[in-house]
Symmetry: C2
Subunit: 435 residues, 2 copies
């Protein structure tokens, strides 16, 4: 009898199988033990009846604590009432590693009970809990969809470097690393490198960890997070808005199709996700400011939106809102000016619904050498550090466009998770680099 | 007429299409210009005959230098003699960005000509060259196959953290980063985290950048490289050897199937790759040492293999060599002891053929708490930093097993590239963090 994973029980109905896993929970009633098993692939129920196993097996099981490692032999029954649709009737039981003092009790394993620091200190164990398990599975699915989406469209994955000599967007939030006898900075964005790569490979993306030494302690900030950044040569703002829309629709559709059990575990309102279909509303920054003011939410043209503004904007639609053509002064130096209005640049932010804030920032890049040289000077950036970047305009410069999407913010939105720190396996924040 | 990518020309034979790209090369003969176009997706030939375009178009094209950005209108012809099987007969030509002083001349764009530093200083441009383009495409394919292979087998992608509080394998090669008022170290391996993750998700992998502050200047070392690390709960050495074999076979098969043009560009001897099919030879370390000595290559039991030893071992087969059961004293503290011989541990290294050296290192992990505590002490490691790791043995500890594969070394092997620095888009070495 070979080992079977819990997620595959449906392929073995009526058969006896062996499961290697852990006891996620147990309650006993007379001559029955009701077990919740987990083996990493799923959580499933098992029933052990005293009359179907030896007395020793029944008693050993009865005394095993949560997270004991167990090997079970059992008959697979289909049962619509059981979580996942199947349950096991236990025929044999072996206790592989007995546990009695598991520090995260069932009732505390998700949100109630101990405070977040207690759980974060035990992140290596907390990951086993049902909710965290589900979030990580959705995260995996989103990461796979990101790569599949771009691969199917002919994008080449070109990894951006982590060690960089200079800042892409400002210097105050950089992590500095000793680099032999000098120093390096950890990347905040691969975008400039993706522009070089797009001119070599046409359509590219990088997808890797990114670092911001922000002192923010909000539920939306991590010092280390994953970002995907596609970039296309010979493309403009409209192309990148359409790409962002197609991309978000595909991510949501894949999660809806392939993570049903996880969304149920997370008690996610899937109707909110089913609403995420194109086209998304598109408004210029100026239109947004006008509407904010018209609705009695005062906002001055030229400023950046804060969290309350984004929440207001996000409330205008069940779909992500695309806000384009931003004031030049609040956006990065490399964004292309709007030929129809020099005060704005051809950037776009995508604001997620349900108050989840910005999840995508993108733009058409300025490809005029003189304009970029002026911008680098105007932003007080060290010209020498950007000489290689300016080469991209000197040698066959054409418009490229792209965006960045933060993985953890996307996971938080799609899973309905309040705090982004639950959306990455081992979160790093201003006060935490352990475990 | 809409824009077409060069890689898709075959879908438009007999049609007129528009191509946006760059001039990779041009030579003229009387009333003909022979162009090599590139648009990132492929390199293809185009012929411009003076009689089929305006005089101005013909002359503008004639004076355009390498890497000028161009928009072409042309008729697609099938031609078996042309690279890629198709060529364009130009009907219209627009010079979008004129270039005359492209610093990397055609003859220098790959290996002859200027030294490596000249090209590495211009990596943002060098990536456009034919050979570098092909290597990056193969790298992309391998990265996709890595993820697809594990996804299809039910592995969950669980990203390991980059910021870590302590070293996984020694401290001398760690990069130290200022972390607000303290410091952090950049990860050298996600393995310990993957053990925690495997006990939560059953089968997991991480795939991300990894850092080693090695002062090595060999052609096989980078300070920043990508590593994939699968880990399976309830698994042992034999499982992980089979997984490594299946994995390498799949990577090679996918590249052979999907990167034919790139392999041709790289002049790769594909017969060497076609030989990579299971089963791979498996020898214990002890058997390897005996054979080395028998063949007049003196080697003392207990030492680690150097490059000449690996080259010798790699020469024994056209397939990767799996060397298992290593001396305990030269392997990491967490490897499981062999129950049949306490002097060796259940580790495996996979040595690539063609002198490419070790590409995989894996092991079954020790799951006995007391054994691990002793090993941590014996290796002089700071016990406190590993308390969380020991928790994995305290709470439901069972055998897990996994391996690590370096992406760039794999790309170097499969593409037949001599130097690993050409196998990552923006290489970082002891003397280089630019561009």
């Amino acid at each position: 009898m070979s080992r079977v994973y819990l997620v595959d029980l449906g392929q073995h109905v009526g058969q006896e199988v062996v499961i290697d896993g852990w006891l996620a929970n147990m309650r006993s009633k007379g001559k029955l033990h009701f077990l919740t098993l987990r083996d990493g692939t799923a959580f499933r129920q098992a029933i052990m009846s005293k009359k179907e196993v030896s007395e020793e097996e029944f008693e050993t099981c009865g005394r095993a604590g949560i997270e004991s490692a167990v090997r079970l032999r059992g008959l697979v029954n289909a049962d619509d009432r059981a979580p996942g649709g199947y349950e096991l009737h236990v025929k044999g039981f072996e206790l592989l590693a007995e546990v009695h003092d598991y520090p995260i009790a069932k009732q505390s394993s998700d949100q109630s009970g101990p405070g977040p620091d207690f759980l974060l200190d035990r992140r290596h164990l907390w990951l086993r809990s049902r909710k965290q398990h589900a979030i990580m599975r959705v995260r995996h699915r989103i990461a796979m969809t990101i790569r599949n989406f771009f691969d199917e469209r002919g994008f080449c994955n070109v990894d951006a470097p982590i060690f960089t000599p200079a800042a892409c967007e400002g210097t105050t939030t950089l992590f500095e690393t000793k680099y032999f006898d000098g120093q390096a900075y950890l990347t905040q964005s691969g975008q400039l490198y993706m522009e070089a790569a797009a001119m070599a490979q046409g359509k590219v993306y990088c997808f890797g960890p990114t670092f911001r030494a922000e002192k923010s302690k909000t539920r939306r900030h991590l010092t280390e997070f994953w970002m995907v950044e596609p970039e296309i040569a010979y493309a403009g703002l409209d192309d990148v808005m359409q790409l962002a829309e197609d991309f978000l629709c595909r991510i949501v559709a894949d999660v809806l199709e392939r993570c049903q059990e996880e969304l149920a575990t997370l008690e996610r309102d899937v109707s909110k996700l089913q609403a995420i279909t194109g086209p998304f509303p598109r408004m210029s920054y100026t239109e947004v400011v006008e509407r904010l003011n018209a609705e009695g939410h005062p906002f001055e043209w030229g400023g950046d939106f804060g969290a309350p503004d984004e929440t207001k904007i996000g409330s205008w639609s069940d779909k992500p809102m695309m806000v384009h053509r931003w004031p030049k002064d609040i956006k990065a130096f490399y964004m292309a000016p709007d030929p129809e209005n020099p005060k704005v640049v051809l950037g776009v932010d995508v604001i997620a619904p349900e108050g989840k804030g910005e999840i995508i920032g993108g733009a058409q890049r300025a490809h005029d050498l003189g304009y970029l040289e002026d911008q680098i000077a105007a932003h007080g950036l060290p010209r020498e550090a950007f000489e290689w970047y300016l080469d991209l305009r000197r040698y066959g410069g054409i418009p490229t466009a792209g965006f960045g999407l933060g993985l953890e913010r996307t996971v938080a939105w799609i899973t309905g998770t309040e705090h982004i720190r639950e959306c990455i396996p081992f979160p790093r924040t201003i006060y935490r680099i352990t475990p």
